[in-house]
Structure formats: C-alpha cells, structure tokens
Amino acid sequence: MKKQKIVAKKAAGQVKTKLVLADVNVVFPGHGGAESVQALSNINLTLQGNDFTVVLGSSGCGKTTLLSLIAGFIKPNSGELFFERTLAETDSAMPKKQKITVDGPSRDRGVVFQAVEGPSRDRGVVFQKHALLPWLSVLDNVEFPLKLRSVSKKERFQEALKNLKLMGLEDFLNHKVYELSGGMQQRVGIARALTADPSVLLMDEPLGALDALTRENVQQIILKGWLATGKMIFFITHSVEEALFIGTRLIVMSPRPGRITHEFPLDFSEEFLSGKTARVVKSSPRFIKMREKILDIIYRDEGLIK
C-alpha cells in the first residue's frame, strides 16, 4: 500500500532528476614533501529519482571526499559532475522551480544539464556534527534556508513546521538547539536541509555520534521522512546494519585509491515501510547473510582477513 505512494510521488514530479558523476578523479596534493593521494579514482555514479544510496567503506576510502565533491565543497581534478533534468513531456514551459542558472547550453529535447559547481541549495547537507546555528531556536534554524531567500514569514513557518513534524519535533519549536539531545539535534539538521528543498540530500554519517537505541529510532524517522518526501538521498555510514536497513542501493568503496568496488540493490527498507518492525527486518536470516557478506568485503579491504 505504501509502495504505491512512492510511485505516486515519482509521477507527480514535474521533472526526472539525475545526478551524474562521470570519470571523476580527485587528487590531494601531498604536504611537506609527502606524496599526493589519489582520494577518488574514476568514479562513475548516477543517482536518480528517489534513490536512497548508502555508501560504506573502510576509513580513508574517500566516502566523505565523494560527499564533499557532490556538495560542491571541493572540485574534481578531472571528470564531470552534473544534474540532468528531463522535463515532463506535457510540460511546455519550464516549471518555475527549474529556473536555474544552467552552465552553458541548455534545454535540448527537454533535458537540462546543470553542472555542479560550488555549493548550492539544490544539494542539502546533513553533517555528523549537527552544524546548527546555536543563536537560533529550533524553528529559526529550520526556517533559516528560507529566510536567506527572504521568503515571507508565514510561508517560512508553514514549511518549517511541516518538516519539523516529519521529524517528530513539533513540540520543540522554541527550544535552543544546545538544549536538545544529539538525536534531536540531528533531526533538526535534517528538517533544515529538507526546508531548503534540495534535489538531493547528502548525509555524512548523520547518526555516527548517537547511541545505539537513539540511532535505531532516528533511522526509522529518516526512512519515514524519505517515504513522505521522495527525496534523492546520498547517505554515508560506518554501520553495515544501518546501511542495509536504510538504503535502496548500497555502494561499497575501497581505499588507496578511493574507488567504488561493489554495488548492491537493497530492499530491506521496503520490508520495514510495508509494516514489519525494524528488529524483525534486521534479524531475518536474509539480512544477516547480507550483513556478513558486506562485512567480509570490508574486512578484506582493511586487510584484517585474507
């Protein structure tokens, strides 16, 4: 039943958005005579629709570099990074939302290419350390992206409240962010990122600093939020269990040089969203088998087993 909702959300969208990384390389120069490091090597990756892409890999494999690259905090040494938006056929005029500054040419056959250059509000980021503004209340933090664009107060409030409700925080509008627990702070961060209405939501180990119980709880809130908004999500984690549970697509990366080595489709989140409890999903034999398989891959990368 809920699966239909996902499909409906897709059809209602005016455009089909793809985020494409083509042959991307990132090299960090060595400091003080050290050798330069190939942080990312030949990354080819396409994120599309409402993909919930989860990235796993041993430390130093370039997960965060990849996220910084998509966010626009760093730029590639070579390769291309762009959005490809296909306008719906019935849509003759460009929808208002898509009036974006495009890089170079244009709207060939209804397809818009927009190069990713620098950070922009079409790529929202949720950080491991919450990165909320401590001088603002919870509500003001979530309204902040709209305030930057001088959106009217009423509209700001409606949008922020909608996203805070989605994260289960409607009772904490006027709290100071430093009064909240770690899990709540991260949920405020997610609500804020959603309020900017980005094409893709980038999350850099958002639950890494949380305790195990809070973590499970926030995973479920994120999944429900994803279902409700149909956002494209790019999610980095260290936890294999979290990755399998939350994503629709798993990418495993390896270090030296940082590269994508494996890719798996995932459907465990579907089981959860269609009514099974998180514990039932996570303790099913299929889940455990998959978990051990991924752990084996990562341990081999780390050189812990041959």
Binding site: A71, G72, F73, G118, P119, S120, R121, R123, G124, V125, F127, K129, A131, L133, P134, W135, F144, P145, L148, R149, K176, Y178, R192, A193, A196, P198, L202
Partner: protein, 304 residues
C-alpha cells in the same frame, strides 16, 4: 560519667562537622557522592568573600594607631599614613572630594572625564577593530597586511609611545583618547580574528548548501559565530583601556582620575592616591560585571 563521655563525643562530632564545613569552603561544594570530580569545580564565592574580608582586615590592622611613638602619649600605626593611609581616612577623603574640588574638579568631574576618555576610546576601538578583525579573518590579503603592524605595536607599553602621541597630536584630548584607543584596539582586533577562525567550517558549508551568498555567510554566520570571542575581546580591551588611563592623563590633563592621582602623588597626598586607585578599580570592575551579564544575555550558547 557516661553522660560526660557522650557529651565529649557529641562535642567531637560537632568539631569534626565544623572542620568539614570550613574545609568545603576551600575545597569544593559539599557532595556526599562525588569523590573525584573535575579539578577546581564548585562555587568559590564564599572563598572570594573571605578573601575580600581578609585583605581589608590586614589593611585595617596595619593602619590602626596602636604603637607608641616618640612623642609622649601619641599612638602611631604599624605603617605610617604617608605610605598607607587607613581605609577610614581614604573613605573620608572620598566623601570630601565628592563635593569639594581637588586638582581641578570634584570626584564626579574626575570620574566623568576619565569615563569619557576610556569609553570614547572603547567605542572607537569597537567600531574599527571588529570590522577589521572580521576582514582579517575572512581575507588573507587584509590579514597579511595588518598582521605585522598590529603584532609589532601590541607588546609595546603605551608609556613608550606616549611622547610620540603628544608630539604628533598635541596635549589635547586627541592624543589621550588615541593612546587608550591603541591599547584597546590590539586585543579586540586579535580576538575578533580568532573568533572568525573559531566558526566551524560545517556551519559555513551548511549555510552555502542552503543557498547563502558570501555576504549572508559573513554577516549571518561568521559575525554571529565570532560574537563570543568579540565580547571577550571587548572585556579584555576595556581592561587595557583602564590600565592605560593614568598614562594618558599624565600629560597636561585638567581633570580625570589619572590626573588626580598624578597631582596627589606630586604632593604626597597618599590617601587621594589610594582613593583614586580604588575608584578606578571599582568603576572598571563594575563595568566588567556589566559586560559579563551582557555576555550571558547576548551569547548564552557560549561554551555549549
């Protein structure tokens, strides 16, 4: 016999409790469960009150006229009033000069002039050092250009360049305010710059990812994020301002607390010197308390 023993025991327990209470005044707040805490935790207010009383008592005792002098029947204190007048004498001088003129004005006039100079310089320093500190933080060219002159003059005592100020700007208000201004400017600009650096890169990245422009990041993220350090810089700066006050008023000041102290010292009127010192201390301390209160209200997130 038995009851006497019990009485002794009770008495011993009372003594022990008393000693423990006294000990807690110096060690930390009484807590029965916490054995090892953060070093120095707990409130020290009681100890501070004790400290004030302790030093005041020493002052009173060493200035009490209780020793016989060479003159028959006259008692003199341990320290002569020329070197240290008694607190009573200082207070008497305070009330006297409050209404009677001394060295060109009553006490309120002196305080008024000094506050005008210190706060005038403080205001000018805040208006210039904060924007420049922000610029130094966000622009490497500005930082590279301003760093050498500021770091060069910062450790030089204001008394050393006071003659230069007088030669350049005369003996009027300009050179006085400028001297105090320079003393406040350096710590304020450096604290502001440090404040800019203390703003986490995540906050800046987050703002850009929400569509903020460079100006929005500067004013809505960096300026606000640097606020705690700016306020600390203001507190340190105004402290330097008061430190420099007497030096600034050394040359041809008609009125002012520093001028009053200078002229009193020329005539060996020690009680006015001490009174001037105490007044400067109290005014500066009151303002610091005000700043601390303002800090709590303006940047309640500091350290959280």
């Amino acid at each position: 016999m038995y009851s006497l023993q019990r009485l002794k025991l009770n008495f011993a327990v009372e003594i022990m409790n008393f000693i423990r209470k006294i000990k807690y005044l110096f060690v930390k707040n009484p807590s029965d469960t916490e054995v090892y805490g953060v070093p120095g935790q707990g409130k020290a207010l009681l100890v501070s009150i004790f400290s004030v009383i302790f030093f005041a008592a020493i002052w009173i005792v060493v200035t009490l006229p209780i020793f016989p002098s060479d003159v028959e029947g006259e008692l003199i204190p341990y320290i002569k009033p020329l070197f240290l007048p008694s607190p009573q004498d200082v207070f008497a001088k305070f009330t006297f000069i409050w209404s009677e003129e001394f060295s060109g004005g009553t006490l309120p006039t002196h305080i008024g002039w000094s506050m005008y100079r210190v706060f005038g310089a403080f205001f000018l320093a805040t208006a210039t050092a904060v924007p420049l500190g922000i610029l130094m933080g966000i622009n490497k060219h500005v930082r590279g250009f301003l760093d050498p002159p500021i770091e060069f003059y910062r450790p030089i005592p204001p008394l050393a360049y006071l003659p230069l100020m007088v030669i350049w700007f005369g003996i009027g208000e300009l050179s006085k305010i400028l001297l105090i201004f320079l003393a406040i400017f350096a710590p304020l600009v450096l604290n502001t710059r440090a404040g800019v650096r203390s703003v986490g890169i995540e906050l800046i990245h987050a703002a850009y990812s929400m569509g903020a422009t460079r100006a929005q990041v500067t004013f809505q993220i960096i300026l606000k994020g640097a606020m705690p350090e700016i306020l600390t810089g203001m507190r340190i700066g105004i402290g330097f301002g008061w430190t420099t006050l007497v030096a600034a008023e050394l040359v041809a000041a008609q009125a002012g607390l520093g001028a009053m102290i200078k002229s009193a010292s020329d005539f060996l009127v020690t009680d006015v010197v001490v009174m001037g010192i105490v007044v400067i201390g109290l005014v500066a301390y009151s303002f610091d308390l005000l700043m601390r209160y303002f800090e709590r209200v303006a940047v309640p997130w500091k350290g959280k």
